[in-house]
Symmetry: C2
Subunit: 196 residues, 2 copies
Amino acid sequence: MSSPTAERAKRADAQRNIAAILEAARDCLIEDPDANVGEIAKRAGVGRVTLYGHFSSRAELVDAVFARTLEDSDHALDAVDLSGDPRAALDRLIASSWHIVDQFRSLLAAAQRSMPPERIRTTHERPLRRISSLIARGRDEGSFRADLPVDWMVALFHSVVHTAANEVSAGRLTEDDAPGVISATLQAAFAPTSHG
Amino acid sequence: MSSPTAERAKRADAQRNIAAILEAARDCLIEDPDANVGEIAKRAGVGRVTLYGHFSSRAELVDAVFARTLEDSDHALDAVDLSGDPRAALDRLIASSWHIVDQFRSLLAAAQRSMPPERIRTTHERPLRRISSLIARGRDEGSFRADLPVDWMVALFHSVVHTAANEVSAGRLTEDDAPGVISATLQAAFAPTSHG
DNA sequence: GCAAAGCCGAACATCTATGTTCGAGTTGAT
DNA sequence: ATCAACTCGAACATAGATGTTCGGCTTTGC
């Protein structure tokens, strides 16, 4: 049951505390990307020392929260149907991604302050591949333009969703309007060029 | 010659030092948005105390550098001809803005860490109006789509140029390719919808 | 040439956050 | 029931950065 290298299973209270810490850290970092360890521990209902017992540094905690959030988000996107007309699939992906990005964009800011860019990239890998393959298929089928690098189109997707989130939080865009605006923008940017 | 409230003109060496500090701060903050006051003073060839003699806090210095950079950039954009076909004008504006954004995007990061968002916004006001009025004219003339808010299109302009800069620094885009990619993207996103 | 304005480095005072240590108390697995 | 695992708060040790004070030296303006 236990491989040689396996660490002994944590005790139940420890597991509960770890879960509470991760949840509290997520909440705190969303409110303030610079939230300190003390605040996080307090919100988790745990002593600072206990927190350090489970995460040996703030950076490690941020990394854990970030990785777990990306994992959760990726899992949530499993529910999105990406088959059929690529244009329709893109709209569905936008509708789902929009909420996720809006919710967690502060978390990204926190991650960028304490994690190397390359680590952030690898953490994004799975959800990124999702978009990437949809775009690739759309190009193959002639639904999307093929005169721009796929990587660029992926970056653009991210960027536009992100920008919409910023505009909403700046009060220049309604939360209800956002998905439509994003879609109108990306569909136009992704459409094949008429005379190219 | 001197109004009652006018401060006495600074001595020549003081003026030189202030200029050196601003230049050094710009360079340092571009390399590292978190550069500290000591490094900046050292690069300016000036004591830390002297720096504090001219800028009472780090935040004030960052603000000064940022404001001055935006001013300079705005002035540089005066050379761009925004008349004639809005599509062509957009391309010219992209070509010029691209270098500026690429050069100073780290500075923006520095500003965002120490200035209130609203102050950042007002500092951007002039260059922003430039884009805004070009877009408005393009819409009036039927060259650009009118089914999206002007504010959104302005944000998109910023966002796309910014994203291109990031892609270049990540090595996924060539500096030479960037302007073309930006243009292809924005022209498509701004074009009037064929059947709307 | 002289006073004022400016410069300098070094040391000091805070402040804030991270991470650690201690000793004593709880809780959970078996 | 027992023992290890876990938790707790408080205090401590670092570390880095900001901003200030001091006394003496240099430059500039007139």
